[in-house]
Symmetry: C2
Subunit: 293 residues, 2 copies
């Protein structure tokens, strides 16, 4: 929150200038947005493109505008990997017209060296320096460990100087189930290889997202915000205020470790008609942010 | 939030029972709702019926269900003053089927002793003990002070043992503009006459809702929650996260003074299509509540 003096300076409101400003006055969120968020926040709120799985880009951006969110993690169904440079430019132009910035791409599944090559080339053409990736091989539909592929990713990270955030996908989908598991794979690799901590999936493995955020802060480059119905494999996505994950505790930890990436809501309930649940969830996260500065 | 022990007791989840519960686990909101809210909260979240000005009762209740809110301040367009006892019973039955309780009636405008009589009789038949009221006379469409009418209301409050919360309506609509103004009228009256503090309209007069909540806590019997675009007559309603009123500060004050009534969102933006804004606003207020316990 800016000081009253700077608020006065910004708004020049007669009533306030007349000394009637009150302790209850704050810089409005609309004003904060214009300044790219509250200056006291080291992180920013976004939405993961997968939340709009059932919608075209225009519809997704319309929903983002409706809930006043300005950062999108770009999914390939909105911007295909094979897009031309012209198509990419048109994508950015469209986002811009809704006040939205695509800050990263992914999650992108990549099971071969060729797929890794394509993902990095795509990110470069899109103009982002963060890839949310899932680097594993698929053998007969079973995902298997692939340390050689991770070594290959490491080479690409050095080549491009991009960050690569491995997305954890819970107990259903080995090998990258939770933060600890990812860390075991990457601890000796280039530090630009880190994780996109999906706090819902993390908790579905029985892990503690708050403790993991503290433990692995130096390697968390993106976050998927969600809440879940139970801390186990049966846990389903739910509106942020209604689940068992203690999000105020999580946001306090973000502030403690001075996390400086995005927190992107990945909303996977009512995917055919998600806007109301997204609005409730975005509002909830903002309420926590405003209460924990 | 309940302790881990009581959480285990409530859920009996295998994973938790096996010692895998984490600091991030909390009682889910769904569980809290089933217990009528978090036991640490002295106040409860509701919606003011006026938010659904453009909708029939069924539509209003459908929206309340969608955002998981269980308390409604009943407006007469959903339950007319002249309803029969059968119609009132049907109203309550309908609310119950959506998990909603009508906790009060109003705001009801009453400019004559007869209107006051009707309002108290109506509230009694509805079965609530709280009337949100606007007791003034109208002369040639100009609202004028009516201390005699307030004395008459005082008699009714004694007769029925109801609480009567005068709604403040900002700088547009004298005589009840803000909390201080109401207090000046009621300070020597029966303490069951108090106010429904509309924090948005209060701030539109240049007053400080947080300071006023502290000052007049003993006489605040209902609250209309909203946010506004500016602290003056031009201030318009807006989604709760986006206005200039510092709601985290306000909720902290509610906790400090141990306010034990309802906080009802009165959402007056996009009244033809309010659900998304209501969802964002309800989520925001819950985020603050969860962050300030």
């Amino acid at each position: 929150m800016t000081s009253r003096r700077s608020f006065l300076k910004t708004t020049g409101m007669g009533l306030l200038a007349a000394g009637m400003a009150t302790a209850s006055t704050r810089t409005s969120y609309a004003q904060q947005s214009a300044e790219s968020g509250n200056p006291k926040d080291t992180f920013r709120l976004g939405i993961a493109g997968y939340s709009f799985n059932k919608f075209k880009l225009d519809q997704a951006l319309e929903m983002m505008k409706k809930v006043d969110v300005h950062y999108l993690c770009i999914k390939d169904f909105h911007l295909p990997m094979k897009s031309t440079d012209e198509e990419i430019a048109a994508f950015h132009e469209k986002c811009k017209s809704f006040g939205v910035t695509g800050y990263a791409v992914g999650p992108i599944y990549m099971g071969t060296e060729q797929a890794v090559d394509e993902a990095f080339a795509y990110a470069k053409r899109v103009g982002v320096k963060l890839i949310v990736g899932v680097p594993h091989k698929e053998v007969d539909k079973k995902k298997v460990e692939s340390p050689e592929l991770l070594k290959y990713v490491e080479g690409k990270v050095k080549e491009y100087d991009f960050k690569y955030a491995i997305h954890n996908h819970g107990p259903d989908n080995l090998p990258y189930s939770n933060a600890e598991c990812i860390m075991n794979y990457i601890k000796d690799l280039d530090p630009r290889i880190g994780m996109c901590l999906d706090i819902g999936h993390n908790m579905r493995t029985g892990a503690d997202p708050v403790a993991d955020m503290e433990k692995y802060a130096g390697r968390v480059y993106d976050i998927h915000i969600k809440n879940i119905t139970s801390p186990d494999k049966q846990g389903k996505g739910i509106e942020l205020p209604r689940g068992i994950l203690d999000l105020p505790a999580f946001v306090r930890m973000l502030r403690k470790v001075k996390y400086n990436g995005a927190c992107s809501l990945e909303y996977e309930k009512d995917m055919q008609d998600p806007l109301v649940g997204i609005a409730e969830s975005i509002g909830y996260f903002r309420g926590i942010m405003d209460s924990t500065r």
